[in-house]
Amino acid sequence: MENLIALLVAAPLVGAALLLCGGKRLDRTGAWIGSLFAVASFAVAAVLFADMLGKSAEDRAVHQHLFSWIPVGGFQADVGFQLDQLSMTFVLLITGVGSLIHIYSIGYMEHDERRRRFFGYLNLFLAAMLLLVLADNYLLLYVGWEGVGLASYLLIGFWQHKPSAATAAKKAFLVNRVGDVGLSIAIMLMFTTFGTFAFGPVLAATGDTSEGKLTAIGLMLLLAACGKSAQVPLQSWLGDAMEGPTPVSALIHAATMVTAGVYLITRSGAIFNAAPDAQTAVVAVGAVTLLFGAIVGCAKDDIKKALAGSTMSQIGYMILAAGLGPIGYAFAIMHLVTHGFFKAGLFLGAGSVMHGMNDEVDMRHYGGLRKYMPVTFVTFGLGYLAIIGFPGLSGFFSKDKIIEAAFAKGGTEGWILGGAALLGAAITAFYMTRVMLMTFFGEKRWAETPGAAAPGQQVQHPHESPKVMTIPMIVLAVGSVFAGALFSVNEAFVTWLEPVTSFAHGHSPLSATAITASTIVVLLIGVGLAWQMYGRKPVPAVAPRGSLLTRAARRDLLQDDFNHIVLVRGGEHLTRTLVYLDHSVVDGAVNGTAASMGGLSGRLRQLQSGFVRSYAVQMLGGAAVLVAATLLMRGV
């Protein structure tokens, strides 16, 4: 049975190869082929899942060893897969959501003449992502890790003719690279510490290793996670990544890839458990990011950028949870899954809106769309309710648990984290409500006929999207409604994951009910505030100047400006000086010697004056020197 694992990765890989090398003859059928392979992969996953459920919790993990990859001395890297409950969860999420989004894209990319390549890239992404979560050692994971980076690069920059897209893609890849360096260093540290980097031995050996080494490894892994999951300080790429087609944002930059960091930390739980300092760093990053992302999300008028901010902040939650150790891992993953549903759904909804508003993304040009695209409205709404943690919907369960766990961390630390989480919840409620209101409610800030268009208004003919797009949205909406509840019935999800991540009940200073109550309160506050600002009074079509914070938040809290001034400018100056130095100093030194040799030659030539008598003089001098030297040698 475990031999099927390879098939999971193989299917989309084949699809990608087929589509990318297939040439023009596949242009028409490309979309369907791509989706087919995605669904196939999902089918395999389902089979494996069924098989896994059949086994007892302890021996559900199965391995498939394909071949020895890089055998050099003590350095033994294999290509081998490990399918346990954790990776199974991811596989299902990836293939499931992946398939849905493939199907959605059939409609969304209908009019793009390069869609064959688009689906090729999507398949490539699926393969890489599956490799990431299925690898049984860190090096192979690293391959998938960079593979998804490549896929995201290709997809963000899919509309290459737009310079902004190309730049965004490059930025995403570079920032990720910084994180990847962290991962590679972590792997090297593992190799020098344990002599291996396979999950099994490494995680088994954490017991008898100095905490210092483990902390170092942990921090490096955290760096990697920050890069991939857009956590502070490496979050800056995610916003720009929205340049990519919306399905891409839904799949890669909401549901799956960006959550890889959470996977990495959870997977390496044993290391973090043994390195408290590293854990502190993790929770700190998580807390900061969840606030950071939320604040950014409040200020954005671009619907996708707003959602991106929210993604950032939601992943902040997960990282926070993962940083809490055994009390958090399960909930981190749980939130990851639910978030996968509703955030994907939200993005698809946003995509549907853009589809209907011919790619207008500025929410200030939306308004009152609910009666024009009902399905989108409903699904989006459900997603909305889920993310703000409306009681009963999936977000409620997962996020609530995280907040609880945060408090359970204990001590002032616990209070701070819990507080941050709560505050985050409030802000989430605020900005999501804002999005909802600005998009679907209020009076429309656009015109159906040119005549009716007020200055600054666009002419739009909003319409509901085709079935092929709405059906995936519906499916995801359903997921985002029920997933949480499903997972929580007698802690099904926790027990499911426990063999891998282990689980410990956190004991929070506040009772569960108290926390739940407080979350609902803050939720209501957030919603109410948003209603005050965007529901009651009309939304201006052009953004008001806004407070200092607002303006900062619009610019991603100035993080980009910092990067630009310090890194980009600085780098440019550095390279320019180096180019100059290379030419004038390094090269100049050599040319200088050559030139001086020429000059010397020129001066020595003068001795050859052409006059016999001067020659004779020199000869005589030479003779004298010769004689003197000979005499000196003997000391006569």
């Binding site: 391995h63 391959v143 490549l150 360096v181 282990s502 180019v579």
Partner: protein
């Protein structure tokens, strides 16, 4: 031990040599015939190289195989001594593999310009002036000499070809530029000959310094062994048996003499400045020849000669060399970022990569040196891919300046795609061959010199930077005026690029064939240098990778998590 079996190694070098003569002899009018002849001979060489790889037994005892040994110049203690270890086999294969592509890619590079007849009427009219024949003959000559210098196990023999190879290279660089002269043919010619002279003088200077060391080596052996010898094996044996002992001072001087030459060839910072000129001015096939084939002789020689002849001195010099290599890595990458000229950019990228190779060699760990060897091969292939595609691009537009391009992917998607893959290989993306070698080098370095390892891995980010910037500026964005109507890759060009890319993928997924060949050689080298890999802090009982982790491991994992 001159066995009377078929002299395979000699043949492998002889075929291209004969080919060179034959090609040069083709009359001026029959230009195409000369091309096919050259291609034919290069393919024959490749076949022989494959035979070598097959005949080679990784497990066999003794450092060298397929050895040949004949007396040549007794007075100098020189023997015609050939033999290959795994490293040599890999590099010979690489060379023999690349040359056909180089020839194919340069198919039209040496056709006399239509305008040639009026520029230098004498040349146009002269029937004896046969640039095309010359071009391909020279390429084959270089191949022959490179292969011989990979095969030579006699220091003097190696030196001879190490030096002699400069001459054909010199004519290739100076004689045949790409037609992308920014300021007209006349100035391009002067820049070319400047580049060629620079190349020659740098390497000649290095070579002559080495000559002094070679002579010194002879003097020492003659003094201590009775009769001077250049046989690598004899010297190594004599060393280990204690019969031979250069004084510390002498050994260091000799080492420096050798290393200097190799560092120039490699090229190592700050001896690198000839490479950008040479690669920038020459046609891209020749540029590939330089960086992918000829320069490898330098790094190869560090492994085979510097380390094995002068172990003590090597470890004495290691810190300095590592620092220089590190500088090369970062410096090369930074300068690559700063370049405006596509080919110069690739050249500086190569400098950075050579930094990695040298880093791996002198880390003195199995991972480092195996990685370095793989790196030589992979860098050869990836640079070939990138450079050749760049060459196709440049010949289409007639300019080397990045600024002159833009939006190519819209008009020539396949070209852009292959270019991107070449670039991704250059930034060593996992799944492509260079990743493996680069990671091995880093691990190997890290395990002995953590700080250097970490700093070096900054190079990874910079690599991504210069590659992606190059791709973005040339391939993406709105289509530039002169780029419109640029034809996509032609069949011939695809034939050149596709196999290289396929190879990159294959070696990235399944490098085992290569590592199996290389590892024993590396172990031998390290045993000569007498270095052991540092042991990990915690020995994990379950031998990783040897078998699958299996359930036992899984149980541990669960406990660990609990």
């Amino acid at each position: 031990m001159a066995d009377f079996s078929f002299p395979l190694l000699t043949a492998t070098a002889a075929v291209p040599a004969i080919g060179a003569v034959a090609t040069a002899a083709v009359p001026a009018a029959k230009r195409t015939a000369a091309k096919w002849l050259a291609l034919l001979f290069s393919l024959a060489t490749f076949v022989l190289a494959v035979v070598i790889a097959v005949r080679f037994r990784p497990g066999a005892e003794g450092p060298y195989q397929l050895t040949e040994s004949h007396a040549w110049i007794q007075d100098f203690g020189v023997r015609y001594e050939l033999g290959v270890d795994g490293i040599a086999v890999a590099l010979i294969a690489l060379t023999a593999l690349l040359i056909p592509f180089v020839i194919l890619a340069g198919w039209h590079d040496a056709d006399p310009l239509e305008s040639a007849s009026d520029s230098g009427s004498a040349a146009g009219s002269n029937s004896r002036w046969r640039p095309t024949q010359g071009f391909f003959a020279l390429i084959l000559a270089v191949e022959a000499m490179v292969i011989l210098s990979f095969e030579a196990t006699d220091v003097f023999l190696f030196y001879i070809f190490f030096e002699a190879m400069l001459i054909p290279m010199y004519f290739l660089i100076g004689g045949f530029g790409d037609r992308a002269g920014a300021h007209g043919e006349e100035q391009a010619a002067t820049q070319r000959s400047y580049a060629a002279v620079k190349f020659l003088l740098y390497n000649l200077a290095g070579g002559l310094i080495m000559l002094a060391a070679v002579i010194g080596l002879y003097a020492v052996t003659a003094d201590q062994l009775g009769s001077g010898t250049f046989s690598l094996q004899q010297i190594v044996e004599a060393r280990t048996s204690g019969k031979l002992d250069f004084g510390t001072g002498t050994e260091r001087l000799l080492f420096l003499g050798f290393f200097f030459a190799f560092a120039v060839k490699a090229p190592l910072w700050p001896l690198h400045t000839w490479l950008p000129n040479a690669m920038g001015e020459s046609t891209s096939p020749v540029a590939v020849l330089i960086t992918a084939v000829v320069d490898k002789v330098g790094t190869f020689a560090m492994l085979r000669f510097c380390l094995q002849l002068f172990p003590e001195a090597s470890s004495w010099a290691t810190p300095v060399i590592l620092v220089l290599a590190l500088i090369s890595v970062i410096y090369g990458a930074l300068l690559a970022v700063g370049q405006r000229d596509i080919k110069r950019l690739i050249a500086y990228a190569s400098i950075s990569h050579f930094g990695f190779i040298i880093l791996g060699i002198f880390a003195m760990t199995t991972q480092g040196q195996s990685g370095a060897t793989l790196y030589m091969v992979n860098h050869g292939i990836s640079t070939a891919a990138l450079m050749l595609v760049a060459g196709f691009l440049i010949t289409r537009r007639g300019s080397r300046l990045i600024a002159d391009y833009g939006g190519v992917q819209k008009v020539a998607p396949v070209l852009a795609g292959t270019f991107l893959i070449g670039g991704l290989a250059t930034l060593s993306l996992p799944g492509l061959a260079p990743f493996i070698s680069e990671f091995l080098v880093l691990v190997g370095t890290f395990s002995r010199y953590p700080v250097i390892g970490i700093i070096a891995s900054v190079g990874i980010v910079l690599a991504a930077l210069y590659v992606l910037v190059l791709y973005q500026r040339t391939m993406t964005g709105p289509v530039k005026a002169k780029v419109e109507g640029m034809p996509d890759l032609r069949a011939r060009e695809l034939v050149v690029v596709a196999p290289l890319i396929a190879l990159l993928l294959f070696l990235g997924v399944y490098p085992k064939p290569l590592t199996d060949i290389v590892n024993p050689a590396v172990d031998h080298t390290l045993s000569v240098v007498d270095k052991k890999d540092p042991k990990p802090a915690v020995r994990v009982d379950a031998v990783p990778g040897a078998g699958r982790p299996g359930h036992a491991v899984h149980d541990q994992e669960v406990e660990a998590a609990k």
